[in-house]
Point group: C2
Chain length 93, copies 2
């Protein structure tokens, strides 16, 4: 509904997802714990688990390029620790 | 390398991603905090942020259907709290 009224006013609400994952080579004790827990639960075949974070973000008053720039900035400044984490920005519409 | 030797032995290692997000209507104080922090950092236009989790999982000795069954079971039993969270399983290859 907010999206519809924004569209009528000539602005747009965009949905996006930022996914933050540990770089390969960085230890992931949380993932290891989940791996062990799945084994204890009797699930066979799980070789490795790595946990990451996902952020579903809504942005208004933006075209696709502007939204991507804002999200990249958000990821660099706050959402990801770029020393040990990778991030990926997807604008979904 | 594990993938290569598994392939030689006639088995397969599959990669999959399980994404766990809060159901709509469930409060997300962590997301709200991130929203506020982005505003403090001077980022304009962010309407809402909701945080979720992502699990990158490797499974061996499985075809696609078997892998999906294992992952669904893992999500139901451990990765997601299905009272307040949705999950999505994607086998990526």
């Amino acid at each position: 509904m907010a999206g519809a009224s924004a569209a009528m006013m000539g602005t747009e609400t965009m949905k996006a997802r930022v996914t933050v994952t540990l770089k390969s080579g960085i230890l992931d004790p949380q993932g290891k714990a989940i791996e062990g827990a799945l084994r204890s639960l009797g699930l066979r075949g799980v070789v490795s688990v790595r946990q990451g974070k996902v952020f579903d973000i809504e942005i208004e008053d933006a075209d696709r390029a502007a939204a991507e720039a804002v999200l990249k900035s958000a990821a660099e400044k706050l959402l990801a620790n770029t020393v040990i984490e990778n991030y990926r920005v997807e604008v979904t519409g």
